[in-house]
């Protein structure tokens, strides 16, 4: 356990050195927030009050929380593992006395811990200033929201990790990566809340783990759901976590048997 804690800490430190990148990310997420908020608000004004259960203020809050959590939740992913398979460095990873998945997971949590403030706070400040935010006044949503964020970070990590692991079987994962990004961006509710979708797409989205990766923590944090509902949503997240964990472990197990690293 100690080793994973140290890995998480060193990952936190590693990401804290790229300060310009953090500032640039915060700037861009704020600009996108302005664009997205104005589009959703314009549609809601035309519709006369609310769309998909979101009033103007709630939709604005949804956008800003989403922009703030985008980077910490890890919606962009990293192809580090796939690159290490390509270069052969994966052999070093596999011979270490730590679990492969757990060591990358710990590092991702360290990254998320750093990203929360420098990348998360600026969009929220811009949002509070431009449109205002509708945040709950009780501690409950924040506590459950924290658990839900942890689960969502882990879900995003495992999703991208599974795509990375495909590199044990195929030479180039770019096509799969692209496919995953496109589907995840849409179904996680990052672009518009999934309840805005036409019925058939909403049903499809709800049958996947993607809404648990972004929309769930955002809705819980914003206090849109009452305590019981929020608990059920976190439960669903943990269920998906278990499913993805099994998938990833199977992939590591069978993939590392297939893996041939050239040279030595």
């Amino acid at each position: 356990m100690r080793a994973y804690w140290e890995l998480a800490k060193s990952s936190f430190r590693r990401h804290s050195t790229y300060r310009t990148a953090a500032v640039a990310g915060a700037f861009t997420n704020s600009v996108f927030g302005l664009i997205r908020a104005s589009l959703l608000l314009s549609a809601i004004t035309t519709a006369g009050g609310a769309i998909g259960g979101y009033s103007a203020m709630e939709a604005a809050t949804y956008v800003w929380l989403g922009q703030a959590l985008l980077a910490p939740l890890g919606l962009f992913g990293t192809a580090e593992l796939a690159n290490r398979v390509k270069s052969g460095d994966i052999a070093v990873d596999l011979s270490r006395s730590v679990n492969l998945t757990a060591s990358y997971w710990a590092q991702d949590l360290g990254r998320a811990a750093f990203d929360v403030l420098p990348r998360g706070l600026p969009p929220l400040i811009v949002g509070a200033w431009v449109t205002g935010l509708a945040m709950p006044g009780t501690p409950g949503p924040y506590l459950l929201g924290f658990v839900s964020i942890l689960a969502a970070v882990s879900l995003n990590f495992l999703g991208f990790f599974a795509i990375n692991l495909l590199s044990f079987w195929v030479l180039e994962i770019r096509g799969f990566w692209m496919l995953y990004m496109v589907v995840m961006n849409l179904l996680s509710g990052f672009l518009v809340p999934v309840t805005w979708f036409p019925g058939w797409l909403l049903d499809f989205a709800r049958a996947t783990p993607f809404p648990s990766m972004l929309q769930t923590p955002v809705d819980i944090l914003a206090g849109r759901t009452d305590g019981g509902e929020s608990l059920a949503m976190v439960g669903l997240q943990i269920l998906w976590l278990a499913v993805l964990l099994v998938v990833v472990q199977m992939m590591v197990r069978f993939g590392s048997r297939r893996l041939v690293v050239q040279g030595g």
């Binding site: 790229y18 300060r19 310009t20 990148a21 500032v23 640039a24 990310g25 700037f27 861009t28 600009v31 996108f32 302005l34 664009i35 908020a37 104005s38 589009l39 959703l40 314009s42 549609a43 035309t46 519709a47 769309i51 998909g52 431009v130 030479l171 180039e172 770019r174 096509g175 799969f176 692209m178 496919l179 496109v182 589907v183 961006n185 849409l186 672009l191 518009v192 805005w196 979708f197 036409p198 797409l201």
Partner: protein, 284 residues
Amino acid sequence: MASSRAIRSGAGRDPQAPVTNLVLLRLLVSARLRSQLAYRGSFLSDVAGQILLGLTEFVELYAIVHNVSSFGGMTFAQTLLVFGLASVAFALGDLLLGETDSMSETIRSGKLEVLLVRPLPVLLQLATSDFQLRRVGRLIFALAALAAALLFADITWDPVKVLLALITPLAGAAIFCALFLGAGAMQFWILDGRQFANAFTYGGRYVASMPGAALFFPIQIFFTFVIPATLVAYAPSLVILDLDGPAGIPVWTGWLGLPAAVVLSGLMLLLWRAAIKKYTGAGG
């Protein structure tokens, strides 16, 4: 890079004729295309991914529009015209200069020095090095969306509108090329600032494909007169559809696309020159 032998053995070429940039360009692009088609499975999955990307960008718009009777003062077919024009322009710009988006990677890995020592303009090499045929997938979807919009949007055509409809995708492509160029140049100064540039390139794409009237007023002004994203598709669409523009994007801006493309390209080329001059190498 094609070696001199490859150039000399180029089929049907007079061996005495001087090797111009144009000949080199053709050689580079055709070599690129052949190498990309070599792995057919990987290529097809890439094209499918690009088409799907275009599709989700459309669903993103549809998810908003299907909830309302009009979005930013436009019907669904009319928003589709904006989306189609913007997508075609972006797909073309991305095809030509999308590579400059990852300039910091090129600089950091030392690839830029390789490009600099070759007797060809760096920009030409960048454009050909990333002539990714898979990005054609995006263009295919964009053209399909545009065709559907032209069919359903109920436009009363006259010669002037036809002219505008022909200029618009080209001017838009030039605007996105210029934005990509600026994004690349900027990364010479701010090496970690790639995401910063994305606010203007991908943010510009996002704005360009949506009805401008749905934006906050200051955003309208900024993305029309500073970063000319609404001039790519929305403003010309207003002219083509005989609609009135919002306060920040008056209907006469519909004709500003081409001049804006020329001015912006000029400025960004100057910035690019300055960036290349400023580059001192990393001792590679």
